[in-house]
Subunit: 164 residues, 2 copies
Amino acid sequence: MGNDKCYVALALKAWKTQIDRADKLFGALSSEEVLQEISPRRNRLLYLWGHLTAVHDAMLPLLGLRERLHPEFDVAFISNPDRSRSDIPSHEQVRGAWGVVNAELWNGFEKMSPNEWTLRHSAVSEEDFAKDPSRNRFAVLLSRTNHLSYHLGQAVLAPKSERA
Amino acid sequence: MGNDKCYVALALKAWKTQIDRADKLFGALSSEEVLQEISPRRNRLLYLWGHLTAVHDAMLPLLGLRERLHPEFDVAFISNPDRSRSDIPSHEQVRGAWGVVNAELWNGFEKMSPNEWTLRHSAVSEEDFAKDPSRNRFAVLLSRTNHLSYHLGQAVLAPKSERA
């Protein structure tokens, strides 16, 4: 018997570890703190949080789980840089979407069999997948976990507020 | 037949992708640039690069590949914060160690069978591993890939030099 379940379980655990770190870091922010920049003239925490939410939301159809919940996040947090638009989702909207999107992903992850993780993701055609079967759902899980870590490394740099 | 090889190959590809990004980012730095801080009063790029080198060096015995090549990096880049010591390895020493350590790791990775990735890593006892078999080498690979991504997210924030 192969160790398929073991590899998938470990990759899911790595995902969950980073999600928990993000929940803790972003979830603790006040409405003033979320507007702080990670570094002078760089993205604000709200932008990073919204960006991660949009990228995770896009994983829902990519992994064949369901249609997107918040496609409207892309214009605010993916296709345009921070501070280029005034009408971006609010702190509360990002917080709510972050929770719902990740819960929906986790719900789907738990139902996927090891074999389903090796199926093609929806952004690659059947022809291209036949040529390169590494473009599968497991690859998406690993790359999005790294993407989350990448931005968490940035988010921790934001100056802490002076609080009692 | 299981998909063991597929999962391991994808995790190795994810590792290699991050290593290549780091090679490109750190490898392009001049001796002045490597002393830049990623953000005001935060770690310098040289410290991050040395830190990643030390952590990767420690993976060699952790994965049962060989003894460490640069245990002396720990005092400079793990157990002490940046700027607390004057006698840290130089730019050239870090660059050299980074290349050698990662080449040695990759060399070992390529020889490991899928099953070997599910063996315990050397920092967990046989008793503890029996209780929690998720503490294996594959878990180390995933967590160190995320660790690398985390610090890469920080390293890209360092101000670019003005060059012709």
